[in-house]
Symmetry: C2
């Protein structure tokens, strides 16, 4: 048997404990599949005493993750602390500088500092791997970076925040308003400490930014992401969408256009009978499209102890085998700056607005849309007893710039109550 | 730039030509993603003059694939000839003996000779890779071997023959009988020269045998596969299944049971609203279940030039990077013999039989089922004007052995016309 691969695990929450359990319970299997034993040398976490459902007494304990990351007796630093800045980043940088391989599940850190960390890892000739950072247990980073490496990727799409998909699915099936389901999800512990990370699309946006970098050979650029959360989606939107054969998903889309890389994380209407439309609850789905392969759809659990630990192990085992791959699939210095494109790919849009009970109101809305170059495919106005009534419009294919122009001019008509809502209908 | 990786491609059909096109058209991309140029040194095929839509004049030509496989100036032998025996096997063996890496799309060769070839490759310290052999463009071999390597795999399922899925889907949507759709598929060129390879489940069975070996660490053993084709499925079966919320798929299932490895490729009923049930036409789907990850579903094109070439490129690019992995995910001598288990996992079954118009006929059938320990969940008898009438039965969960016992005894009742049909209802 060759030399063991020695891990230092920083962060012993659900995922860290899950990794420790697998390494302890399956040593024979892991060794058979990689050709060498995989062992834990030392661990680190905030509290030493907590019961994590796994015996950690056989491993050295470090209170400082930076010390852990640079110990002589570890080969791989497994960063499972989370957080884009602070300890996680400091320890990761220290590990790289000390020539350690790094495996992390930290999507925020990679989305915000991926380029800098990839360059450092390359400089130090170490691996920086992050299968667990995107879509939990789905081996999508590997599928994209290695499995479809012979393709020019044309588009990446994904439903990658289970909490948002749970909220939208639950609103639909239970017929409950957003606020109520949000409160439920909160009570169930589904939401991040800062719930905007979930419902604002930030967490899913981090994941999309990482995939976009691999797919298009660009420097990860989360700032160029067009972000929109699910907070303004109403139960009426969901019902109307269903009525027209669609479902609303918080959908990430990345594609290279003539005007640069387009990255959007926003609510979209997708056909109810498509794989994305059929996705229920907390499950994740990623759609990868390549010029040779066509469309590949991957579906699986996006979070949780087992699935995330499974992804972390995949990276560790690749390192144990000696597999070498650039962090984002190409050398860091070969990655192009990701020029953030405005939404360039035209699409149909679903519009909802509250029309005041004024003569000629609808005509004014139609005129503004027409003048902006937005043509109407379908429209519905609902009976009303209030001073305003909902109007739903589905446009023909239109440029986002034209739509934005119309949305800017609509308030000037003085026939609307509140802000109009526009949701893209994505062709999937 | 480091030394180029030099390919020798044997077999220039659709897939071979597709690989040559990608290597020629994307040299920069492939080099950026692997760190070295990938070039074609020489090719081989039956006919030299055929127009393949790609300029091959710059490559050396070998009329004998064995000569190609052992040329000094190739690093990787790319076997795309097909056929489990003969030239493909001879050339593959020669390549391995000459210390060449091998990439193949040949499912039949691997299903029948995988163990022997894997052992030879190991002996020679070369890679033997075959992403394209299973489910076309879906990177499922990689997902299973590497992406889920930290899991004990509990079950593998797959719809992996596009032609069968096309026939079953078309029967349902067009309401046409099997024979008619079979003739259509034949006219469209969807069927293999020997159509039993498709409709008899053999082709899909080869793929499942390969996945089972990786999943369960067993020697690939196609002989132990329980094979049943789609030839006896009627339009009535499809309609009845739909009526009960199911669809019929040619489904492969491999799982480890207390009595050994169970491998089945047979028509099954699956819930119409499950990902497998929703699969239409020629698309493939593989479901991987692991103890840590839960369920991962992969969906994509199972055949065709681009998808298959994409899979071949994935293997070539892994080799270019220097990635090393055992053929079936573990050293060949560590693989256990696959003891063929009878169907051990109990399931519900759908039964269809033609009942003769005799008094007490139904009671006799019910008695035989009851005596065998098969209990009935639902039953339907249809009005009839003929001398026999169809009866449909859905059983409660039952052992296959009990069901087989009943099926053996049913003819003795002398109330049936023809053979009863039994289709497993798979829990997915």
């Amino acid at each position: 048997m060759t030399t063991p691969l020695r891990l230092g695990i920083a962060g012993l929450g659900t995922v860290g404990a899950g990794v420790a359990k697998i390494v302890a319970a399956k040593s024979n299997l892991l060794a058979a599949r990689t050709g060498r034993p995989i062992v834990i040398a030392a661990v680190s976490a905030r509290s030493r005493d907590k019961d994590r459902g796994v015996d950690l007494s056989g491993y050295d304990w470090e209170s400082d993750p930076v010390t852990l990351a640079t110990r002589d007796d570890i080969d791989v630093f497994v960063e499972l602390m989370g957080g884009s800045e602070g300890a996680a980043k400091k320890a990761t940088e220290a590990a790289i500088a000390a020539g350690k391989q790094v495996v992390t599940a930290n999507k925020a850190m990679l989305a915000l500092h991926g380029q800098e960390l990839a360059a450092a890892a390359e400089q130090a000739s170490v691996a920086l791997r992050f299968e667990a950072a995107v879509a939990g247990g789905i081996p999508v980073v590997k599928a994209l970076t290695e499995g479809l490496a012979g393709n020019q990727i044309t588009r990446v799409m994904g439903v990658m925040n289970g909490t948002c998909n749970y909220i939208l699915t639950r609103m639909e099936t239970a017929g409950l308003p957003y606020d109520e389901v949000f409160a439920e999800a909160d009570a169930l512990g589904y939401l991040e400490a800062d719930p905007t990370l979930d419902v604002g699309g930030i967490d899913a946006g981090h994941k999309l930014a990482i995939l976009a970098s691999i797919a298009f050979g660009t420097q990860v650029n989360f700032d160029a992401m067009q972000l929109e959360g699910i907070q303004r989606i109403t139960i009426d939107d969901i019902r109307q969408a269903a009525d027209m054969g669609y479902r609303i998903k918080l959908l990430g889309v990345a594609q290279m256009t003539g005007r640069g890389l387009e990255q959007r994380m926003s609510p979209c209407l997708v056909p109810a009978n498509s794989p994305l439309g059929q996705l229920e609850g907390g499950t994740n789905m990623v759609v990868l499209e390549g010029d040779a392969v066509g469309q590949i759809v991957l579906r699986g659990p996006g979070a949780g102890e087992g699935p995330t630990a499974s992804a972390v192990l995949s990276d560790i085992m690749d390192i144990a085998r000696g597999d070498r791959i650039s962090t984002f699939g190409q050398p860091a210095n070969a990655l192009e700056p990701a020029v953030g494109a405005q939404t360039a790919v035209p699409a149909r849009y679903y519009l909802r607005m509250e029309l005041l009970d004024k003569p000629g109101a609808l005509a004014k809305v139609a005129t503004v849309l027409g003048e902006a170059g937005v043509s109407i495919d379908r429209m519905r106005q609902y009976a009303h007893e209030e001073s305003s009534a909902p109007v739903l419009i589905v446009t023909h294919k239109t440029a986002r710039s034209a739509l934005d122009h119309a949305l800017q001019n609509l308030p000037g008509t003085a026939v609307l109550s509140g802000e109009p809502v526009a949701i893209r209908i994505e062709q999937v």
